[in-house]
Symmetry: C2
Subunit: 205 residues, 2 copies
């Protein structure tokens, strides 16, 4: 996501701490109350910093939100990419990508709320978020096609299909967290079987 | 979705018109500004009805929102079910279900916003919305399993996989609407090929 955000990056150690506290406070409040119900004053109070401090770094609440969305986008992709890079085949990469997405989501349950809220804050930001994610996916899928690992289907549609699968099965996992019956490896097994052979039996139509 | 909503249903023709205008106004404003930025006074003004009228039918804004979510839930399922019932095999039903979901979404682009906003209004409502949808899906999948049409995979996980595919490819279609290159039948072809044979070539791992 290429955003020209008018943010003043902190340089001193104290300033870095303040900046980090503002980020942390904003993530907490955007998650708990939503963007629209959170004021800049709420954020500085939650962060435990002086009210005026906010504007030393961010010109507005929306710029802070864009910054946080960018940080999530970067962190998720980095978290997944590091794990996936250790795998060789597209099959193994896909499995590891799905597993690491679920892991990241369970550790950062505020992720869904903050990302999807873009739909209500700035539609273009929401669109850009998923299109950026899809564009990166397409690169990997095209490579797998060249290696004859996956079938020759439109890579962009496949990217959205795969993002849909992980996001919605991820939702289901979040719904069921705390339930004793949940076995994430078994859920990943179902997804991989589905990716291997599809849903339908041969000659089902 | 079973909700015990404390709504007073209109009985006279005039009352029915007022009720419908409040629904229409609320859908428009929830879509344009979001739930939290819309007041009851905004809704009655948009609907062109007297301010006090609202409370003749709805005890609160949240109850109106729940009512609208229930109406969307019912209408989408009805729209899809009517078209799907004319098809015989699970393969044809699935194709028709996906096509009619996309059609409904294109005709009602406010649908996504209003449904996903439940995540920010009432998490349990959001969860219940998708779980209800999944539960209905499971019934059809179990039948298809009995008929030996689909492979023996966990039906609930498959329901979330299929909902994820239609919702995310649907997003992609909304992103691209107005773009000349968009061909929805071709997109559905890709999904169906994916559902038929999966993503990976044989022995890809």
């Amino acid at each position: 996501m290429k955003l020209d955000l008018n943010i003043k990056k902190p340089t001193t150690r104290n300033a870095k701490n303040t900046f980090a506290e503002i980020e942390r406070g904003a993530i907490k409040l955007f998650y708990e109350r939503g963007y629209h119900n959170t004021t800049v004053a709420n954020i500085t109070a939650e962060a435990g910093v002086a009210a005026g401090t906010f504007y030393l770094y961010f010109p507005s609440k929306i710029v802070l939100y864009q910054h946080i969305l960018g940080v999530f986008s970067y962190n998720i992709r980095k978290y997944i990419a590091e794990r996936v890079s250790e795998k060789n085949t597209r099959y193994e990469k896909e499995r590891e990508g799905i597993r690491s997405f679920f892991e990241y989501m369970i550790e950062n349950p505020e992720m869904y709320n903050i990302i999807w809220e873009a739909l209500y804050i700035d539609y273009n930001l929401f669109r850009q978020y998923y299109q950026t994610f899809a564009d990166r996916y397409v690169v990997g899928l095209e490579e797998a096609k060249k290696n004859d690992e996956i079938r020759d289907l439109d890579s962009e549609v496949i990217a959205y299909i795969l993002m849909g699968i992980t996001n919605f099965v991820g939702l289901k996992i979040l719904f069921d967290l705390g339930n004793n019956n949940i076995d994430i490896e078994k859920i990943i097994d179902v997804i991989m079987e589905f990716l291997e052979k599809g849903l339908f039996k041969e000659n089902a139509h």
